[in-house]
Symmetry: C2
Subunit: 423 residues, 2 copies
């Protein structure tokens, strides 16, 4: 077990690099067995598959036309062109939604609409637009087709027994579409991660109350709850808990029994950090995984694990708490949700031009909030939103953020930065 503590006065020494902290956390969480449940298809949007799905049948079950036109034997159209058309006899018609009757024989064709089943004997469709009716029975064809033109073959979308969707896959709208096309009425998915959230600190009152002098309203409870909800977690709000050690410990302990993840936030004061550390230590093995990371804002985070519940002691400053959520809680949530790495790894960003120089201390990852301004005919402009990490309005004004890596001491004006949207 790797345990790191914030000890150095100027924060230079024992802080864990962000990527190392994430990797310590995720390798511990990978050992935890996740619960699964059966979910009817209509409720499965944004759930994560708990097993591989094979196609139970060929889709489509029969070859179908993908165009309005005429089902033909491709060989019959060989060499046809506008200057040298070929002629086929219209010998039948495919009724929509029904098995075609009859067979297309040499020199003949059947009228067919998009979605119609290909009649026996035919192996291609000539689009309506490439034909000219001569009379009711005779058709002029001005373009030759190859075998398979303008049709979708049996199993061409997906074949029986072929892998349809893998375990760990997030079920997006198009995936539900595929499952409905295959008639799969229910799927085995991972249980929704359960997250317990509590705030602590003598200066915090519930946001719905009017704070007396010296106190402020809780901001983190609402923000963290909404972040979890958006990621598909079931959230339990434990409210504002006294920082009296016995009361705090028993509430956190109860929350760890009832959830996969427990988040507490409560001031970045040394006293709160010590309390958080002692409480996670007392909860049992493996205990504290990471204490303090080389990240600004977000340095004083504590990450722990007891039995199979992850515990995050988040900084009290709203910006720091949200940044820690983004870097550490989100990957943990995805792990409990059962999301495969493949699904999680692509991160879309907006390329933007930085509009001023930004300094940064080497050795830590810096997160810079920015507003984006559309520019005519060039990349948007990224303007840093300056402000303290206690200032929630800076997050509300920001469209996203970019990162200054550990090995850089700053970024120059006009550099193109990759902005992660806070959408």
């Amino acid at each position: 077990m790797t345990t790191k503590a914030i000890k150095d006065m100027l924060g230079r020494s024992s802080l864990t690099p962000v990527h190392e902290a994430v990797s310590i956390l995720l390798s511990e969480l990978a050992k935890i067995t996740k619960q699964t449940t059966t979910c009817p298809l209509p409720d499965a949007l944004d759930r994560v598959l708990a097993c591989d799905i094979q196609s139970p049948e060929d889709l489509p079950a029969h070859p179908r036309s993908t165009m309005d036109g005429f089902a033909v034997r491709a060989a019959d159209t060989f060499g046809a062109s506008s200057s040298m058309p070929c002629y086929l006899e219209i010998d039948g018609e495919v009724a929509m939604g029904q098995m075609p009757e009859g067979t297309v024989t040499k020199g003949k064709c059947f009228r067919i609409a998009t979605g119609g089943l290909l009649p026996a004997g035919s192996d291609a469709v000539v689009m309506f637009e490439h034909t000219i009716p001569v009379d009711e029975k005779m058709l002029e064809i001005v373009k030759s087709v190859g075998v398979g033109t303008s049709l979708i073959n049996t199993g061409e979308d997906i074949e029986k027994d072929a892998p349809a969707l893998p375990k760990g896959h997030l079920l997006r709208p198009q995936d539900l579409g595929l499952l409905s096309g295959l008639g799969i009425a229910e799927v085995e998915v991972f249980a929704k991660p359960q997250v317990g959230i509590l705030s602590t600190g003598d200066e915090i009152v519930p946001w719905s109350e009017s704070p007396p002098p010296g106190k402020i309203r809780d901001i983190n409870g609402v923000t963290l709850g909404a972040l979890c909800t958006r990621l598909g977690a079931a959230v339990t709000d434990y409210g504002i808990v006294s920082d009296d050690e016995d009361i705090f410990f028993s509430t956190v302990k109860q929350a760890t029994k009832e959830n996969n993840i427990v988040l507490f936030s409560g001031g970045s004061s040394v006293g709160m950090r010590d309390l958080g550390e002692r409480v996670i230590d007392k909860l049992g093995q493996p205990g504290i995984l990471v204490h303090g990371v080389a990240l600004k804002p977000g340095k004083p985070i504590i990450i722990g694990l007891t039995n199979s519940t992850a515990i995050f002691g988040l900084p009290g400053h709203p910006v720091s708490a949200m940044v820690c959520f983004e870097f550490f809680v989100k990957p943990a949530l995805r792990s409990f949700a059962g999301l495969s790495e493949i699904t999680a790894e692509n991160k879309a960003t907006v390329a933007a031009t930085l509009d001023r120089n930004i300094n940064s201390a080497a050795g830590r990852l810096d997160l810079v909030r920015v507003q984006l301004t559309k520019q005519h005919d060039t990349l948007p402009l990224a303007t840093p939103v300056l402000g303290k990490s206690g200032s929630i309005s800076t997050l509300s004004r920001a469209h996203g953020y970019f990162l200054i890596p550990e090995d850089a001491q700053g970024i120059h004006e006009n550099t193109i930065v990759k902005v992660h949207l806070l959408q």
Copy 2:
């Protein structure tokens, strides 16, 4: 009113360019008055503000320390350094969550924790880490501070009456955080867009049924419904409706009365297109806005408007239907949701290297589905997912798509493309 029809045999002429079609649609929708409703803060996640919000108070209401340390008069620390420290008398302590008692006078300081209210007389905080206690009453300070160091001033997060959030803003977790910090218990938001969805076509059966030969299960109803749900719409499923013109017309008419947006999809056959066109025409003014766009897949879309309901006749092929959703229905949904353009305009993408040449016809926008493969130390590889637009599995296998613009005839291998994720 601009009405365009697909008339040319080879699709070369009267197709509306995508950007023009979107702009025709959005300028019509902008004229429609949107309904609003009052929403309690805890339910306001992902809703859109229907009015500007000003801050009702200063946040914070009083200056607060952002560090554990000592509240001082900055001038008293002038010139202090490790080699030349200054000394202050510890004259009091700020209790958390309470108004500080007493005043910091010249040569004195108060102990203060993160979040504590700044006592009268003080104008800066010296971090604990930059102090050395001499005894219980005397403190050595090894670093000078300027006025305002390590504190957040009254209204520094946001000032009373300052703009907090604008009309048309999507309420993200951090925005709810700001509103909770300001004690705003309910907000005026736009009503959720109501979307009615119906599928038509004699070959379609409900996905939950086993299709007899010649028929296939409905895919678009499920996919389109989930796409709408994800964008915060309230969806009504009108099921599979006969393509008998009277029945179809009366169902669509009923749906237009009950919704802001009606989607029908039902085969790309000429017959269905004609039916869709006639039905939208009969529904009343302004009628058809766009018929046929220079987009592949997705060409045969019909976009109409009757009273204040937008109607989309989507191609029956699942890929075409989803692409049309992405380009046309999504902006319409955002318009009905009241989202401001500013909020909607930033589109995050993943830069990736195309792994093969792709051809494209000039004059139309081509959408190419791709899988992304992580590469060591370089951009991910984008591999086109080839397959017909009737093949739903191609969308399920795709991580995203990139676009080939109207003026290009293709894209070369090794070009860096911007992939829009289908997450």
